[in-house]
C-alpha cells in the first residue's frame, strides 16, 4: 500500500513539482526563492518527487541524502538564503507530499490508514535528515564556528 502511495506521487511528479515551485516562489515565508531560476527550482523538486521511492527508502543518515542536502545547505548559504527559509521550504515540501496523498483519498480503510502511518514515518525520517544536513552544510560553510 505504501508503495502505491509513492508510485502515485512519482507518476504525478510533473504537476506536483510545478505546484510546489509556485508555492515556494509566492509564499510569504520563503521570499528568497523568488531569486532562483524557476526552471532550476522545478528540476530540483522534480528530481525528488520523480524518484521519491529511491529517496525515502535510502538510509537517510548517510549516502545520497547526506551528500545532497549538505551540498544544498552550502549552496543556498552562498546564494544568500536565510536558513529559516530553507527549513520552511522543506517543511512545506513534506506537507505538500502528505496533502497530495490525502487529497487522492487513498486512506479509506484500516489497512490504508496503517500504510499512511508508515508513509508518515518514512517521510518524517527523510525530511528530518534533509533538514539536519541542510543546516549542517549551511553552518559548515559559514566558517566562523568551530564545527
Amino acid at each position: 500500500m505504501i508503495e502505491k502511495m509513492i508510485e502515485m506521487i512519482e507518476k504525478n511528479a510533473d504537476k506536483m513539482a510545478e505546484d510546489l515551485k509556485e508555492r515556494l516562489i509566492t509564499d510569504g515565508t520563503t521570499p528568497s526563492f523568488k531569486v532562483l531560476d524557476e526552471r532550476d527550482l522545478y528540476n530540483d523538486i522534480h528530481g525528488i518527487y520523480s524518484h521519491l521511492g529511491y529517496w525515502l527508502l535510502k538510509d537517510p543518515q548517510r549516502g545520497p541524502v547526506q551528500i545532497y542536502y549538505t551540498e544544498m545547505g552550502k549552496k543556498r548559504r552562498m546564494e544568500g538564503f536565510p536558513l529559516p527559509e530553507l527549513i520552511q521550504a522543506l517543511i512545506v515540501t513534506k506537507k505538500h507530499i502528505w496533502d497530495t496523498v490525502a487529497e487522492k483519498g487513498i486512506m479509506g480503510s484500516a489497512v490504508s490508514l496503517n500504510s499512511a502511518i508508515d508513509l508518515i514515518t518514512f517521510l518524517n525520517r527523510f525530511f528530518d535528515f534533509a533538514i539536519y544536513y541542510t543546516v549542517y552544510g549551511y553552518y559548515k560553510s559559514l566558517g566562523v564556528l568551530e564545527f
Partner: protein, 192 residues
C-alpha cells in the same frame, strides 16, 4: 477522546521516555555537545516536553509560547556552545522516541482509533516542525548579534540586486534562444 488518552499516556510515561531519550542523546554521534551538560539539567529539559505533552501540543500555545520558548532555546544553546545542527538533531531524537511510543499503541481493530493516532501524529510533527523553525530563528538572531552575520537576501537592496540579476539572465537566455534569420544575398544563404 483517544487523542487525549494518547497524550495522557505519553505524560504518564514521561519519566521512562525521558530517561530513554537522555540515553540516546548522550550516545548519539550528532549530539556530542550534550555530553557536556549536567545530567540532571539534561533530563529536566527533556522531561519538560514529554510531561507536558498535551500542553505543548495545544493549538494556542503553538502561536505564542512555543515560538517564544524555542527562539530563546536557540539563543541559549548557542551561548552554551551547543551548535544548531546538534540542537535540531536532539529535537528529532525526542520526536522520534515519542513517535515510536505513540505508533506502538496502534489498535488495528478500529479505523477510528487509527484516525486518532494519525491526528496525534500530525500534532506531534507540527509541534516539532515549529520547534526546529523557531530554534533556527533564535540562532540567526545570535549570529547577527555575535558575528554580525545576516543572510544577504534579507537585505532589501541585495534582494533587489538578485532579482535584477535574475531578470538580466532571463533576458540573455531569451536572446540566445532566438533562431538566426536566413538572408539571401547574391544567390548565397547567410545566417544573421
Amino acid at each position: 477522546m483517544l487523542t487525549k488518552r494518547i497524550t495522557a499516556m505519553v505524560e504518564s510515561n514521561a519519566t521512562e521516555l525521558s530517561k530513554d531519550i537522555q540515553r540516546k542523546l548522550l550516545s548519539h554521534p550528532t549530539t556530542k555537545s550534550y555530553r557536556k551538560v549536567d545530567e540532571e539539567t539534561l533530563f529536566r529539559w527533556i522531561y519538560d516536553v514529554s510531561s507536558r505533552f498535551s500542553y505543548w501540543l495545544s493549538e494556542d500555545n503553538e502561536k505564542g509560547e512555543v515560538k517564544e520558548h524555542y527562539r530563546n532555546l536557540g539563543k541559549e544553546r548557542f551561548k552554551q556552545n551547543i551548535w544548531l545542527p546538534e540542537v535540531i538533531s536532539a529535537l528529532y531524537l525526542v520526536k522520534r522516541r515519542l513517535w515510536e511510543f505513540i505508533v506502538a499503541e496502534r489498535e488495528v481493530d478500529s479505523s477510528l482509533d487509527l484516525n486518532q493516532i494519525l491526528e496525534t501524529s500530525f500534532m506531534l510533527v507540527r509541534f516539532f516542525d515549529h520547534a526546529v523553525f523557531y530554534v533556527t530563528q533564535g540562532c540567526e538572531e545570535i549570529l547577527k548579534e555575535k558575528f554580525g552575520y545576516e543572510a544577504p537576501l534579507k537585505n532589501p537592496e541585495r534582494f533587489a540586486e538578485a532579482m535584477a540579476e535574475k531578470a538580466k539572465r532571463a533576458e540573455e537566455m531569451e536572446e540566445e534562444a532566438r533562431l538566426p534569420t536566413l538572408c539571401f544575398t547574391k544567390g548565397m544563404i547567410r545566417l544573421e
